[in-house]
Structure formats: structure tokens, C-alpha cells
């Protein structure tokens, strides 16, 4: 369902930020406009990398500046922002980015996936299914899927233009001959809309199926590499594979120690010096929601 017109959030124009001396969402309006132009191009050509005039941000390159600039360009006063890192709302980097937007936008923030209109993430897609009208913003370290095969940008641009993706399939084939299966655990390459090969950012391959036909708009920002790309809602996203070696995701023979979930991505936590381990949901919101709904994992595991 599309939100009613009066609920659609127009990005605030020239509104002063709560932080004196800085514009709303830190970037000046010209810069935001130039980034939104790049975003529109990216949505028009799903999976294709669009160069943009990335700026130095008050956080280091490599620490989410691409995602931060995308968020800063689309955020409006009525947005509800969620920031996760490793699936968790309480990791230092997530806390820090949320703190930054509170400081320069004073928007409402949330830990609930369902309540958020805008979700910036590093390394995970929430377990709770995304909805129409939501925007996912991914932080991208290296946008080019062919980079480890061909270091030159000039060459990889040509390869995308010619849809010359054979070398990637050769690499995956070599994995199969060496290891018996494709040995890529995260940042697993996908084909978007049957045309462009894309890196989904370093999410575990467990999350790849969530990219496909998602009702949410998915935006990807690489600040240091100065590239933006996008997956519009309801776009086909296929993880690379072979007919006789179909794509598969990892599974655990354990359940979350806290909420008993068996369908979520589990973190292995070392709990003592004797190699003791426990497994818990990486998505803290999903886990705490299940706990408050009365699910209890401990009985399941014992």
C-alpha cells in the first residue's frame, strides 16, 4: 500500500539543524540535491553504479559515510530512523550514527524494524520482513563486484557495459572444483533485474534472499568509492549459482538461546575461557520482540 499523499515525507529544505552552524542533516541543500539526482538515476537502472560527488563527512571513510550521505539526502523531519550494525541497534557504530542524525536532524529514532521509515544498516538485513514505503540504506565498502577479479575501474566499467560476467562465473566454478561448493560467505554477488551484477554489501549470504522482490526501496551508498546504486521495490535479485550447484544459505542446528528462533541469523558468542559458546540472534530487535511475546529459547535448547 502506498502511503497517503499527506504522509509522504518531503525532505526538509533549508531547515536549520539543531546543531548550531550546520544545515539540517549536515549536508548543504545543493549537495543533497546532487546526491538525490544520483539516487534517481540509480533507481532507474537497478544495480548499476552511479558516480556521485561524495563529501568528507565528520566520520571516517569506511565507517558508513556512503550510507550516511544517502540517509542525509533523503531524510525528512517526519522520518523515523533505525540504525543497525551487525544486526544490532546497540553496537558502537550504530549508536554513533544514530547519535549523529539525532544531533543534526532531531528526528525520531527507533529500534523497531516495523516502526522505522528509514533503516540504515551495515552487514545485515533485519529478520522482520520489510514493508512498502520503507527505505533501506546500505553502507558499502567496495561497490564493484568484479574488483577482486579485475582491479582496474576502467576495465570493470567496460565489463559491466558489455555484460561480460564470465570471469565471475569462472571464479565460482574454481571454488567448486577446489572446495566442492562456492566459498563466498558474505557479500555474495547477485544479478539485479537480469542485467547488472551487484555486490549486496557485506551482508551474510543468509540475507541474500531478502533482497529479491522486496517491497522496500533499497539504496546503497559507497562514500569512499563515490558510488550509489539501488534496487527499486519488487525487483528481481538473483544470487549467482549453477544449475547443478544451486545457491543455498547457511543454517544452524541450534536455536537462539534467548528467544528460541530457528529462522534467524545466529551469532556465536564465546562465554568463558574453556571454549564455551552460545548462539543468539544477531538481530536484537527481532530477538527482544520474540522474547516479549513470550517465546523462550532455553527450554527448546535443553
Amino acid at each position: 500500500m502506498t502511503p497517503p499523499l499527506d504522509k509522504i515525507d518531503i525532505p526538509a529544505k533549508g531547515k536549520p539543524s539543531p546543531e548550531p552552524g550546520f544545515n539540517f542533516a549536515y549536508l548543504d541543500e545543493q549537495t543533497k540535491r546532487s546526491i538525490r539526482r544520483a539516487l534517481l538515476k540509480a533507481v532507474a537502472i537497478p544495480g548499476h553504479q552511479i558516480p556521485f560527488g561524495s563529501r568528507e563527512m565528520p566520520m571516517s571513510y569506511g565507517w558508513g559515510t556512503g550510507g550516511i550521505q544517502v540517509t542525509a539526502s533523503v531524510i525528512g523531519q517526519n522520518d523515523v530512523l533505525k540504525v543497525i550494525d551487525q544486526g544490532a541497534d546497540d553496537t558502537t557504530n550504530a549508536v554513533n550514527i544514530r547519535r549523529f542524525f539525532k544531533r543534526v536532524c532531531q528526528v525520531e529514532t527507533t529500534e523497531s524494524t516495523a516502526k522505522a521509515t528509514l533503516i540504515q544498516t551495515r552487514h545485515r538485513i533485519p529478520e522482520t520482513p520489510l514493508q512498502q514505503g520503507q527505505i533501506m540504506v546500505y553502507q558499502v565498502p567496495i561497490p564493484e563486484p568484479l574488483r577482486w577479479i579485475e582491479p582496474s575501474e576502467v576495465e570493470t566499467r567496460k565489463m559491466h557495459a558489455l555484460e561480460e560476467y564470465g570471469p565471475m562465473y569462472v571464479k565460482l566454478y574454481e571454488d567448486i572444483t577446489h572446495f566442492g561448493h562456492i566459498a563466498t560467505a558474505y557479500d555474495y554477488p547477485v544479478m539485479v533485474n537480469d542485467r547488472y551484477m551487484m555486490r549486496p554489501s557485506p551482508i551474510p549470504r543468509f540475507d541474500n534472499p531478502k533482497l529479491d522482490m522486496s517491497p522496500a526501496l533499497q539504496l546503497f551508498g559507497a562514500g569512499r568509492e563515490k558510488r550509489i546504486y539501488a534496487i527499486p521495490p519488487y525487483t528481481k535479485v538473483k544470487s549467482l549459482d549453477f544449475a547443478d550447484h544451486p545457491f543455498s544459505v547457511e543454517s544452524w542446528d541450534k536455536a537462539c538461546e534467548f528467544c528460541g528462533a530457528t529462522d534467524s541469523y545466529l551469532d556465536e558468542v564465546v562465554i568463558d575461557n574453556d571454549g564455551g559458546r552460545m548462539w543468539i540472534c544477531s538481530d536484537t530487535d527481532y530477538c527482544s520482540r520474540r522474547q516479549s511475546e513470550g517465546e523462550d529459547g532455553t527450554t527448546l535448547n535443553d
Binding site: S54, E56, F179, A185
Partner: protein, 546 residues
């Protein structure tokens, strides 16, 4: 829970910041640094921060240095992040560096030049002796009287121009739009024109450029530079706002300009390339402030990056524009290197899962073995002689071996049907069998039981039919079946036949001797070669007599 401690909250971040501020200030009994002190007494640090921070503002640069606890890369980052928030109002007119008010000017290519050599304040000829007097405070030094004439001094290498001995600077290879490329607003796109390259180099990390320039001098893309001219001084910055329609000087800034004179170019023209007589080429460096080492490095790297333009082979990293420009920026580099400090436990978990799966697969099927010995014998007999190497021939077997052939060569089989295909081209025994037999009192060495290849580390008998053994560099053997232990074994050593036969729980006869195979791909096999097992597609069929 202990895991919570691994994650940090907002309070932890605030505490870290407060701790940093207090540590940075140090002992409060020691007077605090003033920005004016930094600006005056650490001027070269201020210059570097302004240059790589892309912002000419000594006060802000001094503040950044103070705030960054003296970490210049961090100070450059601070200045850049601040710069993001500033509007771009005008582009200046090109700087007229030939009208520079000179503090220093030297040329290494002439003994004397019009306008004269001027050392200015320089470390160049200072003996680098630690000055312990300086450790004391309240030092006073007198400025020597120098010529302060401000008339404009022509560039030293312009003398070469008049003879056409040096290639003219032109806008060839620059973006031809009316406005210059602006690296601070536009993404760098490759291949980049020279204006974009020079902007990138001007902001580049000094250490990175210095090392690149040095590498060209040591043979990684040599362009034989001479310091044509180095000049340091103040120039006027002039803008020409459209709404005014006339030029306005807005500031005097100190810059360092370096022009390198490099070895020759020129060629006799063909239909495509214009003929150019041999002449020197140039590299150009310009930095904010007194930043001479950086400006020299920049000029050398600029020249190295023109390799394409001059048709030179690209042999060193300093000539590879994509490599240089993608890795030159300290703000980008420090961020990405240090981002490894961020939590990566999700991806690490995915890698843990993967490596555990790979290890489980590895344990399940020991896919690796080694060749212990190779043997071959030209005569039909029981044992074979050890060799330094054997050569496998596709479809035949071991070169020079009595059992090599398209059709069966083993005499017992030939007697039945000489036309049947030879599925016993190569004979393999696992060393573990020898060891087992020797423990039971036999005396068996590699080759003596008639095998061509003695293996170690592979359960040969457990392989399914059709398994391919990749041996050594190229050879591939396809396993066809089991050897049928016969009385010849007893003739060799008494009781051996019985020792390699067994019965399973169901009472079926088990043949424990050895396996046979055919050569799919030929090649030489040496003792010590690795053996890699490629299992056939499912379903697997156990080996049987062949």
C-alpha cells in the same frame, strides 16, 4: 550478560571522548598551547594540513592540529570534514606565480638565473645536529637582512622556452569545459584528465607521493628529473564575480611551486602523430604554504603520470594513474584501513560457518595423497623396478612397462580374450598395505608387489569406480577396479595371498591388495608428487575385480 560488554553504548562513546580531551590537554599545570603558537612555531605542520585539507586557513588548520593531539592525518580529516559544510562561491582566476613575492627561489639547472638564486629559510644546508640550546625556553633569534625587492622574477625554465627546448604547457589533456574539473564537488572518473590528476596530487598524502617519486628515481618508471625551479612566496588570489564584471583581489596566499625538467620527448611524425623535435618535458607541483618536499614529489609524480601522453611504457606504480589516484588520499586511506576496527562479527560468523563446513568436507573425504614410489618393468614378471620417474601415456599406461597397451597385457587375461580393452594400464598400491603386511612379518618394498605407483594417504580400496586421481603436474588416472589376488603372491612370499584376502561380516570375499586404472591424461610422475582425488558423480559404485 557477557556479550553485552562487547557492544558499546552511547555512554561509552561519550566517556572515550571525555578521556581523549583530558589526555590531550595533559598536565593542567603546563600552559595550554595557543593557536597563535601553533601557527607561528609549527608553521610547516599548519601548511601541510592546509594543503592536504584543501582549505587555506591557517587559523582553522592550527585549531585542527590542536584538536587532533598533533596527529596531522587526523587534523587533515577534521579540516576536510569542516570544508564539506562550506559553500563554493567562486572559482579564482589562475594564479600568476611569475608575479610571486619570493621568499625562496632556486633552480638546479643553471648556475645563475635572471632574478638570482635565493635560499630563503631552508633546512637544506643545515647540519642536522640536535640543538640543545633550543631545549631552553626564551630563545631569541635575529632575522638577517635580506633583499626584499618585490619585482616579478621570470621563471627559470622560460629560458628553455625561447629555444623551443622544452615542451610548452598547454591545455591539451585537460578538461576542455569552460570551468575546470572540481575534485571537491565531482567524483573522480577514470581515465582522468591532467587537471583532475593535479588536483588529486595536490591533496595527496605527502608520504605516499614522496615514496612514489622516490620509486621513479630507483627505476620504477624513471623520467630523469631536474629541479628546473622551486619558488616559494606569496601570490594574490583574484576572483572575477559575474555580477561585478571586474577582478577583485581577495587574499594573498603562500604557495610552493615546483617545475621539474625531465628527459626528452619528440618523434618524427607519421600520418597520425605530428612530428615533434626532441625536447625536454615537464612535471608540475603546486601546494599551499611552504611545502617543498611535497611539491617536488608532486611534480615528479605528475610527470610520471604523463607516460601515456608521451607514449612511454607504463612500468612503475607511479606511472599508473588509476593506482596513484585511487590510493593517494590520506582521508580515504586512514578511514578504510581503520574501519577494520569496527565490529565485523557477522561476516566473521559467516566465514566461521564456511571454514567449519570446508573442514568437515575435508575430513569426510581425504582428498589428498602423495606418491611414495614409482616403478616400471619392461618384462612380464611379478615385481617392478623402482624408477626416478615414470611417464604415463593416455590410453596405454606406463611408458616402457610390460603391462602398457590398448588391449589387455596381463597374460592370464590375454589367454582368455586378447582383444578385451586394457583396464589394467596402471597398477597402484597404497603404502599402508605394505606397512600392515610388514607388521605381520612380511618383507615388502615398493614395486615388489608389481605396482607402478605406491601411494600414501589415500584409501585406494575405498574409492568408487571411476574416481579420477590427479597425479603430479598433469597426469590423470581413472580407477577401474581391484586387482584379484592370486597364487603369484604366495610364490613371492608364502602366505601373502591369504593376508590380502578377507571376508566381511556377510561373508563376502574382500580383496585388499591393490587397484587398477587407465590413463586419461598423460604426464610424468615423480615420487613426492601430490595426488588429488576427484570423485565421480553420484551414485558411487564400490570397486570390484577387473
Amino acid at each position: 550478560m557477557s556479550y553485552v560488554a562487547a557492544k558499546g553504548g552511547e555512554q561509552a562513546i561519550l566517556n572515550a571522548e571525555a578521556l581523549l580531551q583530558s589526555k590531550r590537554r595533559g598536565n593542567p599545570d603546563v600552559p595550554e598551547l595557543s593557536l597563535e603558537q601553533i601557527k607561528q612555531q609549527m608553521a610547516l605542520a599548519v601548511n601541510r594540513v592546509m594543503c592536504e585539507g584543501s582549505l587555506y586557513d591557517p587559523d582553522l588548520a592550527a585549531l585542527a592540529i590542536k584538536q587532533s593531539w598533533g596527529d596531522l592525518v587526523e587534523a587533515i580529516f577534521l579540516l576536510r570534514a569542516y570544508r564539506t559544510t562550506l559553500p563554493r562561491l567562486y572559482y579564482s582566476q589562475p594564479l600568476e606565480t611569475n608575479t610571486m613575492h619570493l621568499q625562496r627561489r632556486i633552480s638546479a639547472i643553471y648556475k645563475d638565473v635572471p632574478g638570482g638564486q635565493k635560499l630563503g629559510p631552508s633546512f637544506d644546508y643545515i647540519h642536522r645536529l640536535l640543538d640543545f640550546k633550543l631545549a631552553a625556553e626564551d630563545n631569541r633569534f635575529v632575522t638577517p637582512e635580506t633583499d626584499t625587492s618585490s619585482e616579478s622574477v621570470p621563471r627559470a625554465i622560460d629560458a628553455l622556452n625561447s629555444e623551443g627546448l622544452i615542451q610548452l604547457e598547454s591545455l591539451d589533456g585537460h578538461n576542455q569545459t569552460p570551468e575546470p574539473f572540481d575534485l571537491t564537488r565531482q567524483p573522480l572518473q577514470l581515465p582522468a584528465a591532467r587537471d583532475a590528476r593535479l588536483q588529486n596530487l595536490a591533496r595527496a598524502d605527502e608520504g605516499f607521493l614522496l615514496s612514489l617519486a622516490y620509486s621513479t628515481q630507483r627505476g620504477y618508471g624513471n623520467s630523469h628529473p631536474f629541479a628546473g625551479e622551486i619558488r616559494v612566496g606569496e601570490v594574490e588570489v583574484v576572483i572575477c564575480p559575474e555580477e561585478l564584471g571586474f577582478e577583485v583581489a581577495i587574499a594573498d596566499i603562500t604557495v610552493t611551486e615546483v617545475q621539474m625538467v625531465n628527459q626528452f620527448q619528440g618523434h618524427k611524425g607519421n600520418s597520425e602523430i605530428r612530428s615533434v623535435p626532441p625536447q625536454f618535458t615537464r612535471g608540475y607541483g603546486l601546494t599551499f604554504g611552504y611545502n617543498e618536499r611535497k611539491a617536488m614529489s608532486m611534480a615528479i609524480v605528475d610527470r610520471a603520470l604523463r607516460a601515456n601522453e608521451f607514449g612511454e611504457a607504463i612500468q612503475g606504480p607511479a606511472q599508473d594513474a588509476e593506482f596513484v589516484m585511487s590510493h593517494s588520499d590520506s582521508v580515504e586511506a586512514q578511514g578504510f584501513v581503520q574501519h577494520l576496527k569496527l565490529p565485523h562479527y557477522i561476516d566473521f560468523q559467516a566465514e566461521l560457518n564456511l571454514v567449519r563446513k570446508m573442514r568437515a568436507d575435508y575430513k569426510q573425504s581425504p582428498t589428498r595423497g602423495i606418491v611414495k614410489a614409482v616403478s616400471c618393468s619392461g618384462e612380464h614378471g611379478f615385481s617392478k623396478t623402482n624408477q626416478n620417474s615414470i611417464r604415463l601415456i593416455p590410453g596405454l599406461g606406463v611408458e616402457g612397462d610390460a603391462h602398457a597397451g590398448v588391449t589387455i597385457q596381463h597374460r592370464s587375461r590375454v589367454a582368455k580374450d586378447p582383444s578385451q580393452p586394457n583396464l589394467r594400464q596402471v597398477h597402484l598400491i597404497h603404502e599402508e598395505l605394505h606397512n600392515e603386511l610388514n607388521q605381520n612379518g612380511f618383507q615388502i618394498k615398493p614395486g615388489q608387489m608389481g605396482e607402478n605407483i605406491t601411494t600414501a594417504g589415500i584409501d585406494l580400496l575405498g574409492l568408487p569406480v571411476g574416481t579420477q586421481l590427479h597425479v603430479g603436474e598433469t597426469a590423470v588416472i581413472k580407477v577401474t577396479g581391484l586387482r584379484n589376488p592370486c597364487q603369484q603372491l604366495d610364490a613371492f612370499q608364502e602366505g601373502l595371498t591369504a593376508a590380502v584376502l578377507d571376508r566381511d561380516v556377510a561373508g563376502n570375499l574382500l580383496r585388499k591388495a591393490s587397484v587398477m586404472g587407465i590413463v586419461l591424461i598423460g604426464g610424468e610422475v615423480f615420487p613426492g608428487d601430490r595426488i588429488h582425488i576427484e570423485l565421480p558423480p553420484n551414485p558411487h559404485k564400490p570397486l570390484d575385480r577387473v
